[in-house]
Symmetry: C2
Subunit: 176 residues, 2 copies
């Protein structure tokens, strides 16, 4: 994993990929699948996400205020879905899915070595947690795997239907 400039993080999340979210609580790491997230600010990169209070990860995120957003490419799609199909209550999902937890630099939850990007995050606002399960995160450190060239991400349309990234088009924009 190689450093990624924080100013480029929005280019990874703005397109709406299904991602993984890791937490660590009471000595135990967990991982969930998440599609409800958005950029909030470019730099420092702020991200909003919804982690339902029905998810096992909710208590960990609320208590520790730390997580890692790991972005999987297409080849991980079957695992991304399976991670969403089971709960950390019942299983060590890193073991079950043979995913490699890697030490993060600024937070306790692990990176996911198989993902092409990993974003270490701290919760900076919880005002909308009770009403909407919305957490506001600051990305404090970002990693990219240079060995995964032009990774295609997946975009959830409901019930296990995913659209895979197609062609890239370039239009003349004045905006970042």
């Amino acid at each position: 994993m190689k450093d990624l400039a924080l100013s480029k993080v929005y280019q990874l999340l703005e397109p709406g990929p299904a991602v993984l979210l890791t937490t660590a609580h009471k000595g135990r790491a967990n991982i969930m699948t998440m599609s409800w997230h958005m950029m909030v600010e470019f730099e420092p990169p702020l991200v909003a996400c919804v982690v339902s209070n029905a998810n096992y990860s909710f208590a960990a995120l609320r208590a520790t205020k730390e997580c890692v957003i790991a972005i999987p490419a297409l080849k991980l799609a079957p695992i991304v879905v399976e991670i969403g199909n089971c709960s950390g209550r019942d299983a060590d999902k890193f073991k079950r899915f043979s995913l490699t937890p890697e030490l993060a630099e600024r937070v306790t939850p692990p990176l996911v070595a198989e993902c092409f990007a990993n974003l270490e995050c701290r919760v900076i606002d919880t005002r909308l947690v009770n009403a909407f399960n919305i957490f506001i995160l600051e990305v404090v450190k970002a990693w990219i795997d240079p060995a995964q060239k032009n990774p295609k991400t997946i975009h959830h349309h409901g019930y296990g239907n995913f659209v895979v990234d197609g062609e890239m088009i370039k239009l003349k924009s004045k905006k970042p």
Copy 2:
């Protein structure tokens, strides 16, 4: 435009398409491009979005608490970028880009007839507007254009680079 069940709205926004947002204020409609949005709840569909206070639409959205999220397909991509390149301060963007405003049913801002889906929204929470420009919307009415079959959406990666929807894959999921 045909009715779309509110329970299906998340399937349109969760994949992260670049969208248009219309507002109406003091007798004038405006339209902006937006990529920072996420689902918050399935039904009634709740959506969070970031509308920067640097955008002309910000004041309209804050004052009227109404907007329409219009989802463009690939063929509108050049217009989507151009809409982001100029401000409603200087131009009537519906006229400039030959877009057709259509009457909405539950809100004052217009639908965009050329978009394949239109979501009429009301602002239901503004607690994070001052800190993060985050508005929480409820979708109160949704429309879909049955004439646009299998529309491909576009996903912004920064500086006018967009990934176009590729193939759809189907995986076995227990989740909506």
